[in-house]
Amino acid sequence: MAGPWFAVLRSGGDWQTLDRITLSNGRRTDRAVVQSRIWFADQAPEQLPLQAGDSVAVDPRWFASPAVARKPTQSATKRAVAGGGTLSHDGN
């Protein structure tokens, strides 16, 4: 897996996109976003109405091309290679 990702998140905030990546299972390749949420334990919900395989509404901004195309950074490429290429950064 690629990464690591570092982020500062506000407790109780909405999903925060950490990165855009390329996701491959060996049969198909998709673009994807990596997202995280966090709460102080005394503010957290016990469950989220979500599980792997569910569908969620895609915000077009998640995958919008940047105004100026940027090359993947050396460190991002290194991480993707080190991670076996399962997930790789797409230049975000």
């Binding site: 897996m1 500062v8 506000r10 996701l23 299972n25 060996g26 995280s36 919900p45």
Partner: protein
């Protein structure tokens, strides 16, 4: 029967020793002292087991029984001194030791700042988390306004967070998901994430407090 009882007693003793080694390592190996400060400007309640200028360096020594019990989806790793040498995913991201002198400085600065707002001194005190809490409990009643003490202690007692993580593909399918999972601050964990139409992942992360409302996450 006697053999069974002997086995049970042996297991109980071994379990107790392991629990002490994990939660109170300083009972077995004395914690190394950090830089000593001069506790002159803030009065200190006499607590014999830890001198005012000493802070346990390992976060694990500040944990209390039950602190590492999570949801079963996060596995704690021992805290250590590793830095980002072979890859940040392997780092424990240890919090630097807080000295008594530094704590005094921060407390004095915070007393000049408005209460209840995300001010620099407060957020630094919160960054040190459990270490600040150890020192706060040694500050005399006269040295700190009761309202401020209650506020700071309430914030410092927030030692756990709940994290959730997902990877959503361009078709809106959640391919990776970590349900809300309770973990203690400052301790690296490996996460057991669900995947859909994707091979299993090996993931880990650490969360540190960096503000009144904000948390830093490495995943």
């Amino acid at each position: 029967m006697r053999t069974a009882i002997s086995w049970l007693v042996g297991l109980a003793v071994a379990g107790s020793v392991l629990a002490v080694a994990w939660f109170r390592p300083e009972w077995i190996v004395p914690a190394a002292s950090s830089v000593q400060g001069n506790p002159s400007s803030v009065a200190v309640s006499p607590v014999p087991e830890v001198s005012p200028g000493t802070v346990p360096e390992a976060v694990s020594s500040l944990l209390e029984p039950g602190d590492l019990i999570g949801s079963g989806r996060a596995i704690a790793h021992p805290h250590g001194e590793q830095v980002c040498a072979s890859g940040c995913a392997a780092s424990r991201h240890p919090t630097p030791p807080l000295t008594w002198a530094k704590f005094q400085q921060l407390l004095a600065r915070w007393q000049q700042e408005p209460l209840g707002e995300p001010t620099p001194a407060l957020e630094e005190l919160l960054f040190y988390g459990r270490q600040s809490l150890v020192y706060l409990r040694r500050v005399s009643e006269k040295a700190l306004d009761e309202k401020r003490r209650r506020f700071l202690e309430e914030q410092l007692r927030r030692t756990h967070v709940v994290v959730s993580f997902r990877v959503v593909d361009e078709h809106g399918v959640v391919r990776v998901f970590l349900p809300p999972t309770r973990v203690p601050l400052d301790i690296r964990h490996e996460y057991l994430m669900d995947t859909h139409d994707l091979q299993p992942l090996v993931t880990s992360g650490t969360v540190k407090r960096v503000g009144l409302y904000h948390l830093w996450q490495r995943i």
